[in-house]
Amino acid sequence: MIKYIAKRLLIGVLTLFILMTLTFFAVRAIPGNPFSQDAKNLSPEAYAALEHKYGLDKPVTEQYVIYLGNALKLDFGESIAKKGQQVLDIIIERAPVTFGLGLVAFVIAVVLGLTLGIISALTKKRWVNSLITTLSTLGVSIPGFLFAIIMMYLFGVRWRILPVMGLSSPLHYVLPAFALALSPISMITRLTRSSLKDVMNKDYITLARSKGTSELMVIIKHGLKNAMLPIVTYCGPMFAGLVTGSLVIERLFTIPGIGAEFTDSISNRDYTLVMGLTIFLGLIVIIMTIVSDIVAAMIDPRIKLGK
């Protein structure tokens, strides 16, 4: 187990290092420099001072080493567009908003996904089954942000029953969280359905039933517990999806989180912020993936042995 965790951590660190390197050189390769808009009005001395402040006057390799060293200390420097603000402070300020929304979406996805999946796996009614299958097919195919726009129109413009801007009350969470959760709900429904259907045909389920265990206990203790593995392994990609989704959902619903900050920083060409946020978002997903892999290995020891 420890060996497995160490291996996963090593790959994680390597991934992060590569992402940092790529980010650094990509940002350096962008034509022009971050001050080009202001540079026209600057004297050469002031321009040189600015370059010196952000360390842009040093050779690229030296900049790279300094950048790596600082990033290890979580110091991503000062934002270029937002004068006087440290990138790290911006992340600390904005991250809770995104995490809150992501957490709500995660809970919705797991609860609804499992429920729908269980119903669809166990129901004897054909119309229930085909309804759930159709909905999950649509949910996987339709982009969450387009779904969000339709919901914004219906609930926010047409019926005026849900707010569509900001996150100031629990009601504000409903639409963005559902939009974020749309694809995870559908994926978890599908995974639960196929996995649980498989498990319920196993001999140990028949055995549990024949020993007189109540049907509910059979489903929860013997069925679901053994059917969880694909859902746990899906968690890694799901977190990546939630991070990606937050970029567009936060912009649509004007939510002041990391995602909106990230897209803004790209439009503003705020390179220090872009670099800091790219690494931060990458780090979150890497950590979440490692955690879900470890949990999966704990649930099913076979994973460590084979591929």
């Binding site: 590569i18 992402l19 980010t23 195919s141 339709i142 982009p143 990606t244 439009s267």
Partner: protein, 307 residues
């Protein structure tokens, strides 16, 4: 088994005359591979509907802008935000431009991006996955670790970096979308090649003196065409999705290029005043993605691809 036993006697049978025998006759005409696939594909009603929709969409994208009296940039300030009418079946946007023509231009751009990036994925995926699966051993392990590392960060981060470096034109969009999506194809090809290279026909080709390149391309990849085609079909909707996503967060194509994502973003800004406009781009994106998914599922069934 209370049935009376049937006793067969010699006089119940009669010998056939030599001329009446036609044991060599094959009643069913032999089918080619593509005919067989098509026959099975046709039985899947959703896939057939998807194919018909896609064909209509492509034809409309080619011909409607050719024969329409309006250009996609042609403004008519007297007729801004018009509702659908005979002259403008989808209405006009905030600058009085015909939405139908713009959606069809969008189809040209979005479908072109989709097919172009699928093409790149095909080439890169076959080469990478083919080499990795064919050589196996250490090379395979290293190549797969590289894929794992790229894959463990949300692909959108790489995509955004590429777009920042290369600007917001169509070619850099195609590159940015393809930068990570070839991985799925590479994995699929690798799995296929790994199992196919153990087959007798691969051995036979080797014994006959075929070089590695020929064995890989002529024998292994050709036999893996089913899964490759299915994987390819699924890449087009992914690319359309990514393009729309990027335009939605304000980082996509140049504002003057009327891609579907750009149109959806333009119309979204008028959601509170002219909500009807948003229907067209959303319907175009969702229906196209859905039809391509259905086609992919249908092909998967017809080609007996397990996914």
């Amino acid at each position: 088994m209370t049935n009376k036993e049937l006793v067969l006697t010699e006089d119940m049978f009669e010998l056939l005359d030599e001329s009446e025998k036609n044991s060599e006759f094959i009643a069913i005409q032999s089918k080619t591979f593509s005919k067989d696939t098509w026959d099975r594909f046709k039985k899947n009603r959703l896939a057939l509907i998807g194919l018909i929709f896609l064909v209509i969409m492509i034809l409309a994208a080619i011909f409607i802008p050719m024969f329409s009296p309006y250009g996609y940039e042609e403004q008519d300030m007297a007729l801004r935000n018009a509702l659908p009418s005979l002259a403008h079946p989808f209405g006009t946007d905030k600058l009085g431009r015909d939405i139908l023509v713009r959606v069809m231009y969008g189809a040209r751009i979005s479908l072109a991006i989709g097919f172009a990036s699928a093409g790149i994925n095909l080439v890169v995926g076959i080469i990478y996955g083919g080499v990795s699966g064919y050589l196996g051993g250490k090379v395979d392990m290293i190549m797969m670790r590289i894929i794992d590392i790229i894959y463990s960060v949300p692909s959108i981060l790489y995509t955004l970096l590429i777009l920042m470096v290369f600007g917001n034109n169509i070619i850099s969009m195609v590159i940015a979308i393809s930068i990570t999506s070839w991985i799925q194809m590479a994995r699929q090809v690798r799995t296929q090649v790994m199992s196919l290279k153990e087959m007798e026909f691969a051995m036979a080709a080797k014994v006959l003196g075929a070089d590695h390149m020929r064995i890989l391309m002529k024998h292994l990849v050709v036999n893996a065409l089913g899964p490759i085609i299915v994987c390819l079909t699924m890449m087009v909707p992914n690319a359309i999705f990514t393009e729309a996503f990027l335009s939605m967060v304000g980082i996509g194509l140049d504002p003057l290029i009327p891609s579907w994502g750009r149109l959806a973003d333009e119309c979204r800004q008028l959601l509170f005043t002219y909500p009807i406009h948003i229907i067209w781009p959303i319907a175009a994106i969702c229906l196209t993605i859905l039809s391509l998914n259905f086609i992919g599922d249908g092909l998967g069934e017809a080609l007996e691809v397990k996914r």
